[in-house]
Symmetry: C2
Subunit: 340 residues, 2 copies
DNA sequence: CTGTTAGCGCTTTCAC
DNA sequence: GTGAAAGCGCTAACAG
């Protein structure tokens, strides 16, 4: 089974005794063409099952009508939702999408950018890896005037458009909810501290506490490396804290799920002993026992918006000045937070 | 912010006062080149930050080094795993990947094939949509000698390579497990009956029953359309069956999760009243209460294998004759099946 | 060892 | 209205 032969304009031209340029014109519905020849050509093209060679077309017009996407992990439900939104929105506007995953590695992220740029994508949508703590590769894109927008995992200082969630706001919502339910000693389980979301969600946590006149207690901030082992370790530490905290807010759902699982082993009951909340509203959050209170983030929407804005920039519809789009999150209150 | 200018070979050539072909040769490390010129060129290319234009290259050599992937849904954890495996394996062999989702629609599937073929992918990896019950578009690919392999959701009659799970075997494993645990009246909740996996898993179900000398009872076969509503309806029907079955085997985990959730509302206890099992080992399966007995399918592996085989065919390493690769599944026994 | 030439499939002036 | 010709960036004979 070898690569089959694709029909080209040349062949249609020969068959019809006209020139390739006429074929090209007919197929893009140029007005300065005899309706009859046009009809004939379109018909023949259909009959011969002609499919344009997008490669040649792109090379010629130096626009590939393809966007590049880089996410840390495709298997994460949240990023999969983003991708889904990106695909749909891009296709609707006639663009294809090439997706890459960085596997949370800076090197891989750079490599992905390189191949996507080589592939002549018209623009990039990037969500940074956890490892990414230097940004030359992004400034490099910027210097080369290659369009890109950052989404979810962004770097604040780079002067490009960004789509993010109101992370601080979401954290504020959920911590306020815990406070309203009577909790006062509330632990925040953070990820690595230089992560954008670690910082933003901590901000929300602090704001909610201070509104209730509670001073920040460094002992109540736990940091996990976000591996299962790390999460389990934190869970065990919390279980042994004296006095036991009233509630725990985990930066992301998977941490909360790991904590919950570990506590079951240790005999710590949720929400009776401690209230628990996460962030993201992963599919697992709804089905664990007890169902997990969390904050939902519309990933599909985020993907759609990021694409729209990128394409608006490419098409010159949107201003060239970078903007920041902030999506609101919604509190999803479930049983895990009904402590009192 | 406009599309930036990319350095071309021509520019390097001019700067160095040599011809483009020399540049081309140097950059692909041709042996018939003066080491010194080669060194100079490579150095200059690096300095000018040259990135090859893959579009031009592909057009020239009529090989895009890109594979197309079509999955029903990116947000499904299983397919996301497959994609992840596909990406990793393809990149390792120097290929890029364009991913599309059919959203379980035949029309979308056809459209995806069209754009991927237009994009000159060297081969396709396809998992069919649920709606796909006619196959001209696949035979068309076949006739045009475009390489593709089917994975997971396959059509058996098409003479191309396929990668599947031993679905019948997996179903057999889990039903046998239910039988060993003492269940005798076992319900099978199927998806639409023309789906490949509906049939295959039913086969395994039947085989296990017949080994235990149990005759097939049509009343114990339930069909869901796989929407939440459909699953809930089936759950309610089962709850009212007289006599109540001992166990329920659902074709896929999401069905089992929906059934479990509905039964909680109806007061049916798992595993005390009825044992429950699913198939796929979604992340949710491990965290529901009680944890769900299921069958795990290595999606990442499947993706890797599908790519390897496709590329082997493209590179002429593998024979052109289609083969069928069957992956084994493993039973994951959890609490939901401990009925007796 | 290196340059010249042709051409991948397509679009787009510029002629007629 | 339609054709001829040039060229997008690259590779690969073919010369020398």
């Amino acid at each position: 089974m070898k690569k089959g032969h694709q029909i080209t304009m040349k062949e249609i031209a020969k068959k019809l005794g006209v020139s390739v340029s006429t074929i090209s014109r007919a197929l893009k519905d140029s007005p300065e063409l005899h309706p009859e020849t046009k009809r004939k050509i379109v018909e023949m093209a259909k009959e011969m099952n002609y499919q344009p060679n997008l490669l040649a077309q792109s090379l010629r017009i130096s626009r590939s009508k393809t966007l590049g996407v880089i996410v840390p992990e495709i298997t994460s439900h949240f990023f999969a939702s983003c991708i889904s939104g990106i695909q749909d929105a891009a296709n609707k506007r006639g663009y294809n999408v090439m997706i890459c995953q960085s596997n949370e590695s800076l090197e891989q992220e750079k490599a992905n950018i390189r191949t996507l740029v080589s592939s002549q994508v018209d623009g990039l949508l990037i969500s940074l890896s956890r490892e990414t703590n230097q940004y030359e590769h992004l400034y490099d894109l910027y210097d080369r005037e290659i369009n890109f927008v950052l989404f979810d995992r962004v770097q604040e200082d780079i002067p490009v458009s960004k789509v993010t969630f109101n992370d601080a706001g979401g954290a504020y919502q959920v911590v306020k909810h815990l406070l309203e339910n009577g909790s006062r000693r509330i632990v925040y389980v953070s990820g690595p501290e230089d992560l954008y979301i670690s910082k933003k969600r901590k901000e929300g946590y602090q704001k909610a506490l201070s509104e209730y006149g509670i001073e920040l207690d460094a002992a109540l901030i736990k940091v996990s490396d976000l591996t299962t082992e790390g999460n389990v370790k934190v869970a065990a530490e919390i279980a042994e804290m004296q006095p036991r905290p009233d509630a725990v807010f985990c930066m992301i759902d998977p941490v909360a799920v790991d904590v919950l699982t570990e506590w079951k082993k240790l005999g710590v009951k949720v929400p009776e002993d401690i209230a628990l909340a996460g962030f993201t509203d992963n599919p697992t959050a709804a089905v664990v026992e007890p169902p997990l209170t969390t904050v939902s983030q519309p990933g599909y929407e985020m993907g759609k918006l990021a694409v729209s804005h990128l394409l608006d920039q490419l098409d010159g519809i949107a201003s060239e000045d970078p903007i920041s789009i902030v999506l609101e999150t919604t509190l999803v209150s479930r049983k895990s937070s009904q402590h009192f």
